[in-house]
């Protein structure tokens, strides 16, 4: 199963720097939104972030990426989670949220200054946390709050009713946003933002498909740096331009046989968010010649995959590419609703475990993966849901699997030494030894 040792050519990715710049600029925009005359809206990363576009310029301040960012700073993160706990919120709740809340309770924005006060709060509710997280934010910040209910349910069932439910709520949201901001809503701007979001997503999906190649042109740490634009700024034109450039660069890397890990001899996937404060985990595995080529999480948080005519998984078409009408507000909202209903991160991960298991098995096969590492993530009940059943399904299919416990954004629940020892044991079971030795 494990391929022989070979050294591939490797080179830095030009788009890496651009991704870092765009992320930095985003957090500056959050801080300076008011000075720039933009609306500041806060909500979860999977919110329908294009929806406020009709109001004019805005920045959508997303909770989860901000919580992840804070978690990388031990001192500030420690203060934040303790501030949330001091308000009697349990330490087993979402770790992103406790970092975000703590920053809000302390009135300190990680990138300097006070915690930004949103003009309003908008959320898409699909797990136990999101809608309630933002309920607290709305109350604490004294900001109006609108939640949209994502009809999860069994994928493929009652699709028309789900579309109607979502579009009705989006129409309500538009009316509500006009009322709370006093701004008029422009459908052309909505159309543009939805197009940007869908295009960013399909481009990202196209990019992850290039990682089927051996050697993989990208590895997971790099993927995390690159996918974030598709989370934070997917409704912007800048996001589309970034992913077009990245797509071309990754395509060229595949054509040139450029590897992300020069010594790739084993390809793994992982599951759930990583412990963001310990991304050295991936670097450690590289010592064994391991390239972590992606995950259900990193592929689908921003992207989506569907079956192509040849039976393989590939990037879905955008509403425009599918020929869906995008003329009226109703057209746009319908296309947008369908886009969210099909999102695997919601329809698979938050429905029932076997939906995600089936997709994971396909990913393993098509991305030529030798084993899967599950981060049993105490920090996110959403991505942790069904993980043990996913593990059983993969094991049943004969795929080597290991698990380690941790928390994506609360380092108090992560044991670095124990995790590395478990990885060592897993590598040994895969017949791998450190390349230095």
């Amino acid at each position: 199963m494990v391929t022989s040792i070979k050294k591939y050519q490797t080179r830095p990715l030009d788009s890496f720097k651009k991704a870092v710049e765009l992320r930095k600029e985003y957090y500056q925009n959050v801080r300076e939104a008011k000075q720039q005359g933009k609306l500041l809206i806060t909500g979860g990363a999977d919110s329908m972030v294009a929806l406020p576009a009709g109001l004019g310029d805005y920045v959508f301040f997303e909770g989860e990426p901000y919580g992840a960012t804070i978690s990388m700073d031990p001192e500030f993160s420690g203060k934040c989670v303790e501030a949330a706990e001091a308000k009697n919120f349990a330490r087993d709740m979402c770790a992103y949220m406790r970092n975000y809340w703590g920053s809000m309770f302390l009135n300190k924005y990680y990138f300097g200054g006070e915690f930004p006060k949103p003009d309003f709060v908008m959320q898409l509710g699909f797990c136990d946390t999101h809608a309630k997280w933002m309920q607290q934010v709305g109350e604490y910040m004294n900001a109006p709050y609108f939640g949209i209910d994502m009809p999860v349910g069994t994928p493929g069932r009652n699709v028309e009713a789900k579309v109607k439910y979502l579009t009705s709520q989006m129409n309500d949201a538009i009316e509500w946003m006009q009322k709370v901001t006093g701004r008029k809503y422009d459908d052309d701007k909505l159309r543009e933002a939805v197009r940007n979001e869908c295009k960013s997503s399909t481009l990202w999906s196209e990019i992850v498909c290039y990682n089927k190649a051996i050697p993989a042109p990208l590895e997971q740490r790099l993927i995390f740096t690159l996918f974030i634009i598709c989370i934070l700024r997917r409704y912007e034109r800048k996001s589309v331009e970034f992913y077009e450039t990245l797509r071309d660069e990754v395509k060229q890397r595949v054509a040139d046989g450029i590897a992300a890990v020069a010594t790739e001899r084993c390809r793994l996937m992982d599951d759930s968010q990583p412990p963001w404060y310990f991304l050295q985990l991936y670097k450690y595995m590289e010592k064994y010649g391991v390239s972590v080529v992606g995950s259900h999480y990193s592929f689908f948080l921003g992207g989506s995959l569907e079956e192509m005519p040849d039976g393989s998984l590939g990037a879905p078409k955008t509403p425009d590419e599918m020929g869906m009408p995008m003329k009226t507000r109703e057209d746009i909202l319908r296309a947008y609703a369908l886009w969210y209903i099909k999102k695997p991160i919601i329809s698979q991960m938050f429905a029932l475990p076997h939906f995600k298991s089936e997709t994971m098995l396909r990913l393993v096969k098509e991305w030529k993966v030798n084993g899967v590492i599950f981060h049993l993530n105490r920090g996110c009940e959403g991505t942790a849901m069904g993980q043990m059943e996913n593990r059983l399904a993969l094991t049943k299919a004969g795929i080597p699997v290991m698990t380690y416990e941790g928390n994506m954004a609360d380092r108090r629940e992560f044991d670095e030494a124990q995790t590395l020892r478990r990885i060592d044991a897993f590598m040994e079971s895969l017949g791998l030894s450190k390349l230095e030795s």
Partner: protein
């Protein structure tokens, strides 16, 4: 006393269901959360019973559910994996929390049943569009049950089912009304057993049981003592009636509750209308909400504060299944609200088994504090 029969149903729930099945020759469906339209199942001639845990230490679920998920969901799954519910013909769940949904998913994968159904129950029940979505889902669910059984569910059967369920809710509410008295004629543990036995038995039979209880209660001589501290229990799923008995053995009477094993289950009735499925669905959207469905505004707290006032409570015990995220969100603001209204509260975190000695000390201290306040 008929109250003993309710306790017997809860204690011997599997025997009850097996006997019902034998007696009627019909099917039994286990449901995982109270956000399911039971009336449709009942109208189909199938007995809907709630799947609950057994409060026994277990290691069956370790390979299936990670331990960060709530003990109730793990205890529930353990029952399936141990074969305790081997008489079930089908299982279903309404969309509510991730914890129980995961238990359902693992059960579905590992315990054979001829019917399993995950229904989307809207989470934003405050949305004016939630009822339409619920209608679409109940319609699909009805079709699925009909396909499973190979026969239609008639309007007449739905009407009868709605009436039986409404009668049950009305009778339970009448009994709860009696708890406003000092002393109330029944203990809180007994009240919860009445609700639990309703979830675990044929509602038509249960209605007869409730009617008998209502007749017997005014003559009861061995009920709670007058002058006890009046408590309300609030929070997660709570079927641990042994613990409630402990509390009530310490000079307190539980006079009100806000649990899905209590008032949240039956508080409102189905308002009949021509479209039966719409009527059924509307009730679930209008019922006192679980915290996971209580946003953007907080309607749940209104129900709690109304009860607290009407039942003249002196203190509240906030019961939370460990790791239950929906309740973890509500407990800090709820505790603050109770305090603001002069109602002291004690927070207890439940596991599959509870540390009764430690809890006893804490409850005793809480009651002593309340006693001092009364003096």
């Amino acid at each position: 006393m008929t109250l003993d029969r309710a306790k017997e149903i809860v204690t011997n729930r599997h025997d009850y269901a097996r006997e019902w099945k034998k007696k009627t020759g019909s099917k039994v469906m286990g449901y995982f959360c109270t956000y399911v339209p039971e009336e449709i199942v009942y109208a189909a001639g199938v007995l809907p019973i709630r799947v609950i845990g057994s409060h026994e230490a277990q290691s069956y679920t370790e390979p299936h559910i990670y331990t960060m998920f709530c003990p109730f969901s793990r205890d529930v799954l353990a029952q399936g994996l141990r074969g305790k519910y081997d008489y079930l013909d089908g299982i279903m769940i309404g969309h509510s929390c991730l914890h129980l949904r995961q238990a359902f998913g693992a059960w579905m994968t590992n315990v054979p049943a001829s019917f399993s159904y995950y229904m989307y129950t809207p989470a934003k029940i405050q949305s004016p569009h939630a009822k339409e979505m619920m209608l679409a889902e109940t319609t699909e669910f009805k079709k699925a049950v009909e396909n499973w059984l190979g026969r239609p569910i008639t309007d007449d059967a739905l009407d009868k089912s709605i009436e039986v369920y409404n009668t049950n809710r009305r009778l339970l509410k009448q009994i709860y009304e009696l708890r406003k008295a000092d002393p109330p004629p029944l203990f809180g543990s007994e009240a919860i057993e009445l609700v639990l036995s309703s979830q675990l038995s044929d509602k038509a039979e249960h209605n007869k049981l409730l009617e008998s209880v209502l007749k017997e209660l005014p003559q009861r001589r061995n009920g709670p003592q007058g002058g006890n501290i009046r408590l309300m229990i609030i929070g997660s799923e709570d079927d641990d009636t042994n613990f409630l008995r402990y509390v009530e053995g310490l000079g307190a009477t539980i006079v009100a509750d806000e649990h899905c094993t209590g008032s949240r289950y039956f508080w409102n009735e189905t308002v009949p209308e021509k479209d039966r499925l719409r009527a059924i669905g509307n009730r679930y959207m209008n019922r006192p909400p679980c915290p996971t469905k209580d946003w953007e505004s907080r309607r749940r707290f209104v129900h709690i504060m109304n009860m607290a006032k009407e039942y003249n409570i002196q203190g509240a015990i906030l019961v939370q299944q460990k790791f239950c995220d929906p309740h973890e969100f509500d407990i800090p603001p709820l505790k603050a609200l109770l305090e603001k209204n002069g109602i002291p509260s004690l927070f207890l975190e439940f596991d599959i088994t509870v540390p009764i000695g430690q809890f006893r000390t804490r409850v005793e201290a809480f009651l002593e504090m309340l006693q001092l306040e009364v003096v």
